[in-house]
């Protein structure tokens, strides 16, 4: 099996060929959205961060914006700044340029307002779209694929079918030299020691333990025991008995594949294989973290039907709930209720999902893309907002 993708100057291979408009700060989202509306082939990566953060969050936002620009689905980048934001505009521009792809930049204070910036930015974006449209997909090895994963609007079927099926893809793709990025620290909680035992380097396992402790401590700081909000009364009514059981169902998205590293939010893995990133469960920030890892697409498991996608990477929705597969048919890409109905094994469904994901990497559209249900994203900050 191989896929068809766009080779980038740094050797990464894209599944899409978008010109990204990246605001350095939420204050200029309107500029980015106007350019997106004017120029075909562009996507605005709007967010609400970039200013009045503690230094740690400023660093996270900067790293994430650079790595979104470096994502191989992005052919070229227009960076849009205001002029007084806390993140370092030049560092973001230069950081993305390291990838070798075309990067242009406009700043609202320098150009004298929104309309002037839209005018200049749209012209630059139009030129980059024309150049990007001259690129062609070529045959690529499966080792170039990097998938991230998430579960959302989960139910009992998630841990019994869709997560197991993604776990099979994790096994298959890493055997083929690919890269798999898993996260959701809130869902790991209760299963962090099982993940630690899978780490090839114990020091990376300790980082995973600390991801969970950091989440727990931040909950405690605002007077909340996050274990309680993780294990809901709805979970118990649905049949989940313990937090560990819930965590193991989430961890199943990587089966027992060895873990190479624990990644800070929005950073890129340094080698192939399976990795754990400190992403939250909340979808908007989660998907952005996965996109910043350099993944071409996300395998998104759902039980009740989470419809949203992400502007940088296609989201493949798979669902093991036969009822949801009917009622939310317009949002679900891959039906894996067969695993629950015992008409297909996890191995068979995993192979089917892998083949579909490879097709998406080659250009097949996902439901969220077709519906334009993929316009919104956010970047994780830990606060306080000042």
């Amino acid at each position: 099996m191989e896929f068809l993708g766009y080779t980038r100057p740094d050797g990464q291979v894209g599944a899409r060929n978008i010109v990204a408009i990246i605001p350095t700060v939420g204050c200029v989202n309107a500029v980015a959205l106007n350019i997106e509306k004017l120029i075909k082939g562009t996507r605005a990566f709007t967010h609400h961060q970039g200013c009045l953060h503690p230094p740690q969050d400023t660093e996270t936002v900067t790293r994430t914006l650079i790595n979104l620009g470096k994502n191989p689905n992005v052919a070229a980048v227009l960076v849009v700044g205001l002029g007084c934001e806390m993140v370092d505009f030049d560092r973001i521009v230069e950081g993305i340029k390291e990838s070798g792809k075309p990067v242009q930049a406009v700043k609202v204070h320098d150009l004298g307002g929104m309309l002037e910036t839209i005018n200049k930015g749209a012209q630059l974006a139009a030129d980059m779209v024309l150049e990007a449209s001259k690129l062609r997909r070529t045959k690529q090895g499966l080792d170039k694929l990097r998938f991230c994963t998430k579960c959302g609007s989960s139910d009992t079927t998630s841990g019994l079918s869709s997560n197991l099926v993604v776990g099979e893809v994790c096994r298959l793709m890493t055997e083929n030299g690919g890269t798999f990025v898993q996260g959701e620290v809130c869902d790991i909680m209760g299963g962090e020691y099982a993940l630690k035992n899978l780490c090839v380097d114990p020091a990376e396992g300790d980082k995973i333990i600390n991801f969970v402790k950091d989440l727990y401590d931040r909950g405690t700081a605002v007077g909340a025991d996050v274990r309680g909000s993780q294990m809901t009364s709805g979970n118990v009514a649905g049949g989940l008995t313990t937090l560990i059981e819930k965590a193991m169902g989430a961890n199943a998205k990587g089966q027992k594949v060895p873990i190479q590293s624990a990644l800070e939010y929005g950073s890129r893995p340094m080698c192939a294989g399976r990795h754990i990133m400190a992403t939250p469960g909340h979808g908007f920030e989660n998907l952005t973290g996965g996109a910043a890892s350099g993944a071409q697409l996300i395998l998104f498991t759902t039980g009740r039907g989470a419809p949203n996608g992400h502007p940088c990477i296609p989201t493949v929705k798979l669902c093991g709930n036969s009822k949801t597969n009917v009622t939310m048919q317009s949002h679900i890409d891959v039906d894996v209720a067969s695993v629950i109905e015992e008409t297909e094994t996890v191995e068979q469904a995993g192979k089917r999902l892998y083949e579909f994901a490879v097709a998406v990497a080659s250009g097949t559209l996902t439901k969220a893309e077709i519906l334009n249900f993929d316009g919104h994203m956010e970047i994780l900050i830990k606060g306080p907002v000042m």
Partner: protein
């Protein structure tokens, strides 16, 4: 129609029911290409667990091949397994 429960790996001592089970129902479990039947000792709702091995007080429950909780009383094959007979042994360091 046969009622199934999903056992993830052979090591597991519980399986998750994917149908509403009545006391006395036969519950079928497919594992490693084999099908086994267990008689349910109680009502077990969809999504809840049935014991497929006997579990003594203090022993671990296994699902996904991992310990997910500890039995607070002796659990027989076919019993409903949930918060009334299991305790979470998880603690944040």
């Amino acid at each position: 129609m046969k009622k199934y429960a999903k056992q993830i790996v052979e090591k597991d001592n519980v399986a998750t029911c994917v149908a509403d089970i009545n006391a006395g129902d036969e519950v079928y479990v497919k594992i490693d290409g084999q099908e086994r039947a267990y008689k349910a000792n109680a009502v077990i709702p969809f999504g809840h667990k049935i014991a497929v091995k006997a579990i003594k007080t203090g022993e671990f429950l296994y699902k996904y091949g991992e310990a997910i909780g500890k039995a607070t009383q002796d659990i027989a094959i076919g019993d409903w397994v949930h918060t009334h007979n299991v305790v979470d042994h998880y603690e944040v360091v």
